[in-house]
Amino acid sequence: MTVDIALNVLLLSFLAITGLAIARVRNLFPVAMLTGLYSLLSASLFQLLDAVDVALTEAAVGAGVMTVLFLATFGLTRAREKSVPRSRTAIGLVVTGLTGAALFYASLDMPHFGAADTPVQEHPLRERYLETVREEIDVPNAVTAVLASYRGYDTLGEVTVVLTAGVGVLMLLGVSRRGRHDDDKEP
Protein backbone atom coordinates (compact mmCIF):
# COMPACT_ATOMS: atom_id res chain seq x y z
CA MET A 1 0.00 0.00 0.00
CA THR A 2 2.84 2.38 0.83
CA VAL A 3 4.24 1.64 -2.61
CA ASP A 4 0.96 2.67 -4.15
CA ILE A 5 0.95 5.89 -2.17
CA ALA A 6 4.56 6.62 -3.15
CA LEU A 7 3.77 6.01 -6.83
CA ASN A 8 0.69 8.21 -6.57
CA VAL A 9 2.75 11.01 -5.04
CA LEU A 10 5.41 10.58 -7.72
CA LEU A 11 2.98 10.67 -10.63
CA LEU A 12 1.07 13.57 -9.13
CA SER A 13 4.26 15.58 -8.70
CA PHE A 14 5.19 14.81 -12.33
CA LEU A 15 1.72 16.04 -13.24
CA ALA A 16 2.23 19.21 -11.23
CA ILE A 17 5.61 19.88 -12.86
CA THR A 18 4.11 19.33 -16.31
CA GLY A 19 1.16 21.58 -15.45
CA LEU A 20 3.45 24.39 -14.31
CA ALA A 21 5.54 24.00 -17.45
CA ILE A 22 2.41 24.19 -19.61
CA ALA A 23 1.43 27.39 -17.83
CA ARG A 24 4.87 28.95 -18.20
CA VAL A 25 5.92 28.08 -21.76
CA ARG A 26 4.85 30.74 -24.28
CA ASN A 27 5.58 28.78 -27.44
CA LEU A 28 2.49 26.64 -27.90
CA PHE A 29 4.32 23.97 -29.79
CA PRO A 30 6.02 22.34 -26.81
CA VAL A 31 2.78 22.96 -24.91
CA ALA A 32 0.92 20.61 -27.27
CA MET A 33 3.49 17.94 -26.56
CA LEU A 34 3.42 18.62 -22.84
CA THR A 35 -0.36 18.14 -22.78
CA GLY A 36 0.21 14.77 -24.43
CA LEU A 37 2.64 13.98 -21.64
CA TYR A 38 0.07 15.14 -19.11
CA SER A 39 -2.44 12.67 -20.56
CA LEU A 40 0.03 9.80 -20.44
CA LEU A 41 0.76 10.60 -16.81
CA SER A 42 -2.90 10.80 -15.86
CA ALA A 43 -3.51 7.53 -17.71
CA SER A 44 -0.79 5.94 -15.58
CA LEU A 45 -2.54 7.32 -12.51
CA PHE A 46 -5.83 5.79 -13.66
CA GLN A 47 -4.09 2.46 -14.04
CA LEU A 48 -2.77 2.82 -10.53
CA LEU A 49 -6.40 3.20 -9.43
CA ASP A 50 -7.29 -0.02 -11.35
CA ALA A 51 -9.43 1.90 -13.87
CA VAL A 52 -7.84 0.41 -16.94
CA ASP A 53 -10.67 1.24 -19.34
CA VAL A 54 -10.51 4.91 -18.34
CA ALA A 55 -6.74 4.82 -18.71
CA LEU A 56 -7.05 3.41 -22.24
CA THR A 57 -9.49 6.11 -23.26
CA GLU A 58 -7.42 8.84 -21.66
CA ALA A 59 -4.30 7.69 -23.49
CA ALA A 60 -6.02 7.32 -26.85
CA VAL A 61 -7.96 10.57 -26.71
CA GLY A 62 -5.69 12.75 -24.59
CA ALA A 63 -2.30 11.77 -25.91
CA GLY A 64 -3.29 10.62 -29.38
CA VAL A 65 -6.19 12.57 -30.81
CA MET A 66 -5.77 15.77 -28.81
CA THR A 67 -2.16 16.23 -29.90
CA VAL A 68 -3.17 15.81 -33.52
CA LEU A 69 -6.03 18.26 -33.13
CA PHE A 70 -3.77 20.80 -31.42
CA LEU A 71 -1.27 20.54 -34.24
CA ALA A 72 -3.95 20.80 -36.90
CA THR A 73 -5.12 23.97 -35.16
CA PHE A 74 -1.61 25.40 -35.15
CA GLY A 75 -1.53 24.77 -38.87
CA LEU A 76 -4.38 27.25 -39.22
CA THR A 77 -3.41 29.73 -36.52
CA ARG A 78 -0.22 30.84 -34.87
CA ALA A 79 1.69 28.59 -32.51
CA ARG A 80 2.62 31.33 -30.08
CA GLU A 81 0.66 32.54 -27.10
CA LYS A 82 -0.30 36.22 -27.08
CA SER A 83 1.26 37.96 -24.13
CA VAL A 84 -1.28 38.96 -21.51
CA PRO A 85 -0.92 41.83 -18.99
CA ARG A 86 -0.06 40.74 -15.48
CA SER A 87 -3.31 42.05 -13.96
CA ARG A 88 -5.31 39.65 -16.10
CA THR A 89 -3.13 36.66 -15.26
CA ALA A 90 -3.73 37.50 -11.59
CA ILE A 91 -7.48 37.21 -12.14
CA GLY A 92 -6.89 33.86 -13.85
CA LEU A 93 -4.82 32.67 -10.92
CA VAL A 94 -7.55 33.64 -8.46
CA VAL A 95 -10.27 31.89 -10.48
CA THR A 96 -8.17 28.75 -10.86
CA GLY A 97 -7.26 28.79 -7.19
CA LEU A 98 -10.90 29.11 -6.13
CA THR A 99 -12.03 26.32 -8.47
CA GLY A 100 -9.25 24.10 -7.21
CA ALA A 101 -10.16 24.82 -3.60
CA ALA A 102 -13.83 24.06 -4.29
CA LEU A 103 -12.93 20.76 -5.96
CA PHE A 104 -10.64 19.87 -3.09
CA TYR A 105 -13.41 20.69 -0.61
CA ALA A 106 -15.85 18.54 -2.58
CA SER A 107 -13.40 15.64 -2.63
CA LEU A 108 -13.48 15.55 1.19
CA ASP A 109 -17.05 14.25 0.96
CA MET A 110 -16.10 11.42 -1.37
CA PRO A 111 -15.80 7.89 0.03
CA HIS A 112 -12.28 6.57 0.45
CA PHE A 113 -10.69 4.59 -2.37
CA GLY A 114 -11.95 1.02 -2.21
CA ALA A 115 -14.37 1.71 0.68
CA ALA A 116 -16.96 -1.06 1.14
CA ASP A 117 -19.98 1.02 2.17
CA THR A 118 -20.50 3.02 -1.02
CA PRO A 119 -23.48 2.92 -3.42
CA VAL A 120 -21.22 1.25 -5.99
CA GLN A 121 -20.80 -1.72 -3.66
CA GLU A 122 -24.22 -1.77 -2.02
CA HIS A 123 -26.71 -0.97 -4.77
CA PRO A 124 -28.92 -4.01 -5.56
CA LEU A 125 -28.44 -3.49 -9.30
CA ARG A 126 -24.77 -4.38 -8.95
CA GLU A 127 -25.64 -7.94 -7.84
CA ARG A 128 -28.07 -8.29 -10.69
CA TYR A 129 -25.52 -7.24 -13.31
CA LEU A 130 -22.77 -9.42 -11.94
CA GLU A 131 -24.99 -12.50 -11.58
CA THR A 132 -27.06 -12.43 -14.75
CA VAL A 133 -24.54 -11.02 -17.17
CA ARG A 134 -23.28 -14.43 -18.28
CA GLU A 135 -26.75 -15.71 -19.21
CA GLU A 136 -28.00 -12.47 -20.69
CA ILE A 137 -25.04 -11.21 -22.72
CA ASP A 138 -22.43 -14.01 -22.67
CA VAL A 139 -19.31 -11.89 -22.68
CA PRO A 140 -16.57 -12.56 -20.14
CA ASN A 141 -16.24 -9.01 -18.82
CA ALA A 142 -19.14 -7.50 -16.87
CA VAL A 143 -18.00 -3.94 -17.56
CA THR A 144 -17.98 -4.67 -21.29
CA ALA A 145 -21.48 -6.09 -21.05
CA VAL A 146 -22.76 -2.99 -19.27
CA LEU A 147 -21.00 -0.68 -21.70
CA ALA A 148 -21.84 -2.41 -24.93
CA SER A 149 -25.30 -3.72 -24.18
CA TYR A 150 -27.08 -2.41 -21.09
CA ARG A 151 -26.13 1.14 -21.99
CA GLY A 152 -25.31 0.59 -25.63
CA TYR A 153 -26.55 3.95 -26.91
CA ASP A 154 -24.29 5.79 -24.51
CA THR A 155 -21.38 3.73 -25.72
CA LEU A 156 -22.24 4.44 -29.32
CA GLY A 157 -21.26 8.04 -28.63
CA GLU A 158 -17.99 6.93 -27.10
CA VAL A 159 -17.21 4.68 -30.03
CA THR A 160 -17.49 7.76 -32.22
CA VAL A 161 -14.47 9.06 -30.31
CA VAL A 162 -12.51 5.94 -31.20
CA LEU A 163 -13.50 6.38 -34.83
CA THR A 164 -12.10 9.90 -34.68
CA ALA A 165 -8.81 8.47 -33.42
CA GLY A 166 -8.77 6.09 -36.39
CA VAL A 167 -9.36 8.94 -38.81
CA GLY A 168 -6.51 10.84 -37.16
CA VAL A 169 -4.13 7.94 -37.71
CA LEU A 170 -5.15 7.59 -41.35
CA MET A 171 -4.61 11.30 -41.83
CA LEU A 172 -1.16 11.13 -40.28
CA LEU A 173 0.16 8.23 -42.21
CA GLY A 174 -0.83 9.96 -45.43
CA VAL A 175 -2.95 7.12 -46.75
CA SER A 176 -5.73 9.39 -47.92
CA ARG A 177 -3.51 11.65 -49.98
CA ARG A 178 -5.81 11.38 -52.95
CA GLY A 179 -8.65 13.19 -51.21
CA ARG A 180 -6.70 16.33 -50.57
CA HIS A 181 -7.29 19.48 -52.60
CA ASP A 182 -5.51 22.74 -52.40
CA ASP A 183 -8.67 24.75 -51.91
CA ASP A 184 -9.38 23.36 -48.45
CA LYS A 185 -6.54 25.38 -47.02
CA GLU A 186 -7.89 28.50 -45.36
CA PRO A 187 -5.82 31.66 -45.67
Binding site: L7, F14, A21, A32, A63, G75, R177, R180
Partner: protein, 95 residues
Protein backbone atom coordinates in the same frame (compact mmCIF):
# COMPACT_ATOMS: atom_id res chain seq x y z
CA UNK B 1 12.19 -6.57 -7.33
CA UNK B 2 9.51 -5.03 -9.52
CA UNK B 3 9.87 -2.16 -7.11
CA UNK B 4 13.53 -1.65 -8.06
CA UNK B 5 12.59 -1.71 -11.73
CA UNK B 6 9.79 0.79 -11.25
CA UNK B 7 12.07 3.07 -9.24
CA UNK B 8 14.61 2.90 -12.06
CA UNK B 9 11.96 3.84 -14.59
CA UNK B 10 10.68 6.63 -12.35
CA UNK B 11 14.15 8.12 -11.94
CA UNK B 12 14.66 7.97 -15.69
CA UNK B 13 11.31 9.69 -16.20
CA UNK B 14 12.42 12.44 -13.83
CA UNK B 15 15.71 12.94 -15.70
CA UNK B 16 13.89 13.01 -19.04
CA UNK B 17 11.35 15.47 -17.64
CA UNK B 18 14.19 17.79 -16.64
CA UNK B 19 15.53 17.64 -20.20
CA UNK B 20 12.05 18.32 -21.57
CA UNK B 21 11.80 21.43 -19.41
CA UNK B 22 15.34 22.63 -20.11
CA UNK B 23 14.99 22.29 -23.86
CA UNK B 24 16.75 24.22 -25.29
CA UNK B 25 15.49 23.46 -28.81
CA UNK B 26 12.07 22.09 -29.74
CA UNK B 27 13.80 18.93 -30.99
CA UNK B 28 15.28 18.27 -27.57
CA UNK B 29 11.80 18.48 -26.15
CA UNK B 30 10.35 16.13 -28.77
CA UNK B 31 13.16 13.66 -28.12
CA UNK B 32 12.50 13.86 -24.39
CA UNK B 33 8.74 13.47 -24.79
CA UNK B 34 9.06 10.52 -27.17
CA UNK B 35 11.37 8.89 -24.68
CA UNK B 36 9.03 9.73 -21.82
CA UNK B 37 6.30 7.92 -23.73
CA UNK B 38 8.33 4.73 -24.08
CA UNK B 39 9.23 4.98 -20.39
CA UNK B 40 5.52 5.21 -19.62
CA UNK B 41 5.03 1.97 -21.55
CA UNK B 42 7.63 0.30 -19.33
CA UNK B 43 6.12 1.96 -16.28
CA UNK B 44 2.61 0.62 -16.86
CA UNK B 45 3.94 -2.82 -17.81
CA UNK B 46 5.94 -3.15 -14.61
CA UNK B 47 3.08 -1.59 -12.65
CA UNK B 48 0.76 -4.34 -13.91
CA UNK B 49 3.12 -6.95 -12.52
CA UNK B 50 3.65 -5.02 -9.30
CA UNK B 51 -0.08 -4.97 -8.66
CA UNK B 52 -0.39 -8.62 -9.66
CA UNK B 53 -2.53 -7.89 -12.73
CA UNK B 54 -0.27 -8.44 -15.75
CA UNK B 55 -3.34 -8.83 -17.98
CA UNK B 56 -3.44 -5.07 -18.18
CA UNK B 57 -0.53 -5.05 -20.60
CA UNK B 58 -2.90 -4.02 -23.40
CA UNK B 59 -2.46 -0.55 -22.02
CA UNK B 60 1.25 -0.76 -22.71
CA UNK B 61 0.58 -1.88 -26.28
CA UNK B 62 -1.76 1.05 -26.88
CA UNK B 63 0.72 3.51 -25.37
CA UNK B 64 3.52 2.26 -27.58
CA UNK B 65 1.44 2.89 -30.70
CA UNK B 66 0.02 6.24 -29.57
CA UNK B 67 3.44 7.50 -28.64
CA UNK B 68 4.76 6.65 -32.08
CA UNK B 69 1.91 8.30 -33.96
CA UNK B 70 2.18 11.34 -31.68
CA UNK B 71 5.86 11.79 -32.43
CA UNK B 72 5.38 11.35 -36.15
CA UNK B 73 2.48 13.83 -36.06
CA UNK B 74 4.62 16.45 -34.35
CA UNK B 75 7.48 15.95 -36.80
CA UNK B 76 5.19 16.04 -39.79
CA UNK B 77 3.74 19.26 -38.52
CA UNK B 78 7.19 20.75 -38.00
CA UNK B 79 8.34 19.82 -41.46
CA UNK B 80 5.29 20.74 -43.46
CA UNK B 81 3.42 23.07 -41.13
CA UNK B 82 0.39 20.92 -41.75
CA UNK B 83 -0.87 17.39 -41.27
CA UNK B 84 -2.05 14.82 -43.76
CA UNK B 85 0.12 16.01 -46.55
CA UNK B 86 3.06 14.33 -48.10
CA UNK B 87 5.87 15.62 -50.24
CA UNK B 88 5.50 12.71 -52.61
CA UNK B 89 1.92 13.59 -53.50
CA UNK B 90 3.09 16.56 -55.55
CA UNK B 91 4.66 14.64 -58.37
CA UNK B 92 3.54 11.07 -57.81
CA UNK B 93 -0.16 10.39 -57.34
CA UNK B 94 -0.76 7.13 -55.55
CA UNK B 95 -2.71 4.21 -57.00
Amino acid sequence: MFLAAIIGVAVTMLLILIRALLGPSAYDRILALNLFGTKTVLFVSVLGFLNGRPEFLDLGLVYALINFTGTIAVLKFMQYGDLGWDEASKDKPDV
